[in-house]
């Protein structure tokens, strides 16, 4: 690990401003992904701003009837919150399907959104990777690509986003609240928060330099049956091959987002309208234009069958 200086931030705006005063700064909250990457020298910040002291660890009702989840709310606490369990079950389920008990106790809501890909070529610093070293190439293309993206990828990057939580957030139409170094705040819809790789796979989110996530808001409960179904190589503690976050109403309408298939949580609103016609109809739109590799083409059939199982379960 490269050495770094360390400070504890006093308030969110101060933390954001402080981030602009020095080069190579990173915020650290749970640290479960950042420290892993720092040990491998994939991340090499010269300065860490510890944001754990900021009072961003509460879950509060919003005026619109939804919930504002503080950036520092731990994954365990978000999953266990009685309001989330009752009204946003897909979110509880997604969180509980991710990582281990130890990691969920530390990992935060904002950090979960910002976690980086688990592409083995991103992790191996001997390999070219446009995400890690822009312009160096992509070793995953033509490499071992069983885990990789089947939709929305580019010639520069076929990595997937590893989060389960973010897939549920996408189905719930969550929004990300931030503060910038000049003190200005803004709200970014989750649909616009994560970027597709395009020709700049190292630019992963809509955040500008020094911008700090303060909360994630959930709109008024959508009702319906909430299901998160994750398919993986082990029964627990493994990243998704494919996951489905679905909210299905009694009349068969609803929303669906996929994990494990793209560089971001994958949802196309027009595909939602196909839900009453079944999984095949949804996937025809949701995965149209998919360009799988020989090794991950199975994800197309797996996604359709997983959604089929979810829709059957939703009928109860």
């Amino acid at each position: 690990m490269k050495s770094f200086t360390y400070e504890r931030a006093g308030n969110p705006a101060e933390a954001a401003a402080s981030a602009m005063r020095r080069p190579d700064v990173k915020f650290i909250a749970g640290g479960t992904n950042l420290l892993d990457l720092m040990k491998l020298e994939i991340e090499t910040p010269a300065h860490l701003i510890d944001v754990n002291g900021l009072s961003l660890d509460k879950i509060e009702p919003t005026a619109e009837g939804g919930l504002r989840v503080g950036a520092l709310v731990r994954n365990t606490d978000l999953a266990a919150d009685s309001r989330v369990r009752r009204d946003y079950g897909v979110l509880s389920r997604a969180l509980l399907a991710g990582a281990s008990g130890q990691l969920r106790n530390k990992a935060t809501t904002a950090g979960n959104l910002l976690q980086r890909t688990r592409c083995p070529y991103f992790y191996d610093t001997n390999q070219p990777c446009n995400k890690r070293r822009p312009g160096s190439g992509c070793a995953a293309i033509g490499g071992f690509s069983r885990q990789h993206a089947v939709v929305g990828a580019s010639d520069a990057c076929i990595a997937t986003h590893p989060s389960d939580m973010a897939v549920a957030m996408r189905a719930l139409d969550a929004a990300v609240e931030t503060v910038r170094p000049d003190g200005a705040t803004r709200t970014i819809p989750i649909a616009e928060f994560h970027h597709l790789p395009g020709s700049t796979p190292h630019v992963e989110t809509a955040l500008s330099p020094g911008e700090l996530i303060t909360a994630v808001t959930l709109p008024k409960p959508a009702g319906g049956t909430h299901i998160y179904r994750k398919v993986r190589d082990r029964a627990s503690y493994a990243f998704a091959l494919v996951s489905v976050a679905a909210i299905v109403q009694r009349d068969g309408t609803g929303r669906v987002a996929l994990g494990g298939v793209a560089h971001k949580p994958w949802r196309i609103e027009s595909a939602d309208s196909q839900l009453p016609r079944g999984a095949k109809a949804v996937m025809a739109q949701l995965l149209s234009g998919a360009k799988p590799t020989r090794e991950n083409a199975f994800k197309l059939a797996l996604a359709e069958r997983t959604l089929g199982a979810v829709l059957t379960a939703a009928k109860g």
Binding site: Y6, A80, R85, R86, S100, G101, Q102, S236
Partner: protein
């Protein structure tokens, strides 16, 4: 017939000889060894002060900011019960309990724990006065090599508290009713602790026994 003592004697000699040569060869560098803190200062590495409680005792350390909580416990406080397995949060051997919650001590910086209450395997029980979970692991043979065991036990103690606190899991059938203490629940909740020897079924039995006693 050759007596067993002949073999034992020669083996013993061999071991003594090996130990002596190791001690001899390492003696010169040991004499000149610098403490970690003087080494760090010489290289002008950023240091930071942190105070926390470990197993009820206040501790104050000045550390290279890079020091993980695991390395602070093992290398600076010489509490070597917590183990370094993968050092990347994948195996759970480093599990300790901070503020009542289990975490991977390898994936957190020591300087981030100002004022925290940290409990390690050394704080759960002693050889003379085992924690019920430690006694149950012994009784049910919940280990083979023992390397993952301190992490397994810290994790298991915290798991029972998590179930008591009403925290659901991936295998809980209904999110809105209290989780049941089933074998499937324990296995899911313990999935962050890998046992290469494969003592899982005995570990599950040990935890089940303690859970039953607590209930």
């Amino acid at each position: 017939m050759q007596g067993p003592s002949d073999f034992e004697l020669s083996r013993r000699k061999l071991l003594l000889g090996t130990a002596a040569s190791v001690a001899f060869s390492t003696a010169p560098p040991m004499a000149n060894a610098q403490t970690p803190s003087t080494l760090a200062q010489a290289a002008d590495v950023p240091m930071s002060k942190v105070s926390f409680n470990v197993n009820g005792k206040p501790r104050e350390l000045v550390l290279d900011t890079r020091t993980t909580l695991l390395d602070a416990l093992r290398e600076h406080l010489h509490l070597t019960g917590s183990k370094k397995g993968c050092d990347h949060g994948q195996c759970g051997a480093c599990t300790v309990i901070v503020g009542g919650r289990r975490i991977n001590s390898c994936l957190t910086l020591a300087v981030m724990h100002e004022g925290d209450e940290i409990q390690t395997i050394e704080g759960l029980g002693t050889p003379e006065n085992l924690h019920p979970m430690q006694a149950a692991f012994v009784k049910h043979d919940g280990y083979q090599c023992g390397y993952c065991t301190p992490g397994q036990i810290c994790s298991a103690v915290a798991v029972l508290d998590e179930i008591k606190a009403g925290i659901p899991s991936h295998v809980s059938a209904d999110l809105n009713v209290p989780a049941q203490l089933t074998n499937a629940e324990l296995r899911e909740r313990m999935s962050g602790n890998i046992c290469r020897c494969g003592a899982y079924s005995n570990i599950a039995e040990a935890i089940t026994e303690v859970a039953g006693r607590q209930a």
